[in-house]
Amino acid sequence: MTFNPLEQRGIPLDRQLRNWRELNVRPIDPDHCDPYTRCRIITMNGIEVEAILFSHQLARNTVDPEVKRQLASVRYIEAQQQKAVNWLLPGVSSVLETTIAYEQVAVDLTAWIARMEPDPYLKQAYQFGVLEDFDHLYRYANLYEMIEHRKAESIVDGLTEVMPGRPTKYHHRDPVDNVRDPYDKNATDPLSKLHALTVLSAEQQTMNFYMNTGPTYMEPIARQLYQEIGLIEEEHVTHYESLVDPGETWWEQLVNHEYNECYLYHSFMEQESDPRVKAIWELHLNMELEHLHIACDLMRRHDGREPQEVLAPQLPNVLTFEPNKQYLRELLDTQIDLTTLGAGYVREAHERFEAMQEQIHGGEQPPSERVMAQHDEMFGREYRVQSEGEHPDPSQREK
């Protein structure tokens, strides 16, 4: 696929504003949609939220009022894009149902990016993280059956397996061990920049979602599980954001954001099965092309550099939502017992890890373990979907 966003023109900015009727999108049907359509919606919402928050931070660090006004104009359109995208999610879905879809995104998005990432250090960061999201999916799936008597497979629909990953209780590390080394902006493959920004945005959205919706539950175990996993999302955002080279200028970062949005809308337009949703991806791609041009002009003006110096000459292969079952099984077989030490990975439970574990658990079982015990009391079994056979790690097989 040769598509160079730098050479395409989109919809002029002064024609991008939508009225209420145009923003009033019809939501997807939660019981009959393509699960990966829902995953694409959740991903693009996270991307738009990051675009908005980044632009606000940039504006707060900008002195020139004319530039502030330009950022505000583009940001307002991005806020409309976020509304159009996230409002595709239906009001009849419960928070827990949407949570399981968020974890399906985290699993299949991160696994695909780990598979495609050319840099071995970055690849390891994604491989490490995905086994944690995988375990969150399993814990929430058990909570879902307890509260709503529904099975997670009615959401993930056989595309993603549901079984233990790296046990959630071991995700609580000393915060200093969550900071990775960054890539080098001048040496790294441009694709790696897009990967880091995409996963970082998705995890940040998940963190925001859990920190805000968790307390809407009344069931004590639900409230507690959201609190525990919400704190791990904080660790994940730290983990992924530290991969990005802090030496990128604000304008370079802005260009990367806009370019990534073009890349993802283009990718999702190419593979979308729902024609109504596809039309939104296409429209938004045509808006983003213009946002990218505006960002490129700002970079030329403020940095005195050509955006081509930091971007790929053409869009990489489309980012794809597809099953990653065998890949995840390989990781379960080889990396389930890893933890981090400094910016690297080790197998032994080192002193700093043990100290954190002792403090945070306070001698008790954490919510992620208690949810399994309570589920077992209620049903006399666990909830899993192991469509490809028993768990690769013998210690994680159901007793």
Binding site: E148, H149, R150, K151, E153, E377, M378, F379, Y383
Partner: protein, 197 residues
């Protein structure tokens, strides 16, 4: 789909001392049965649909007899909240009655079923958000437990899961039309409420 079976609300080992948790799980059971009807064909679909109709009838009747009257009496603004829910229930019942007269193999069946499913799902979430939340907030544990008991009494009145001898068409017919089933459920609930309430 996995072979794991999720028992109906009341049949799992939950404490069932909170009417709201019980009804929320029953909402999930209803949604599961819609899945079953949609995925099955022929005799299996007919059977799944009979079980869905029974569960819907029992569930809605129990709500009308136990939960709505309580919400109307005890919640600030409860009158209007309950009015809105009853209007949704009336609409769903009309679709259900029309559907009950349609053979599950009839081409008209599936579009009507999907409409019913949408109505029922929207109604269920509206209850959870606008009615149940307030009930939990303003009701003591003993009352939540009493109401749970009454809902379970309704369940016992009209078995909503396949029991030996109940799956057959003849036994299903013996349960009678939806309206009669609702009447019998009403009696059972009133009896349970009278004893414990």
């Amino acid at each position: 789909m996995s072979t794991l079976h999720t028992p109906h609300a009341g049949d799992d080992h939950a404490a069932d001392d909170d009417v709201v948790s019980l009804l929320m799980r029953q909402h999930g059971d209803i949604r599961n049965l819609f899945d079953e009807v949609e995925q099955a064909t022929g005799e299996e679909r007919r059977d799944a649909f009979r079980r869905l109709v029974r569960l819907l009838a029992v569930h809605e009747t129990a709500e009308e007899e136990v939960v709505h009257p309580y919400a109307r009496r005890s919640l600030p603004g409860g009158e209007q909240v309950v009015e809105d829910r009853l209007a949704e229930e009336r609409a769903a019942k009309e679709t259900l009655a029309a559907l009950d007269d349609t053979d599950t193999d009839d081409p008209k069946f599936m579009p009507q079923l999907l409409k019913l499913r949408r109505d029922v799902q929207e109604h269920a979430r509206a209850e959870e958000r606008y009615e149940f939340t307030h009930i939990r907030r303003g009701t003591d544990a003993a009352k939540l437990a009493t109401m749970a008991k009454a809902v379970k009494a309704a369940e016992a009145m009209a078995p909503t899961r396949p029991h030996p001898g109940v799956e057959s068409g003849a036994a299903n017919m013996a349960l009678g039309p939806v309206a009669a089933l609702m009447d019998r459920t009403k009696d059972a609930v009133r009896k349970a409420m009278g004893k414990d309430g």
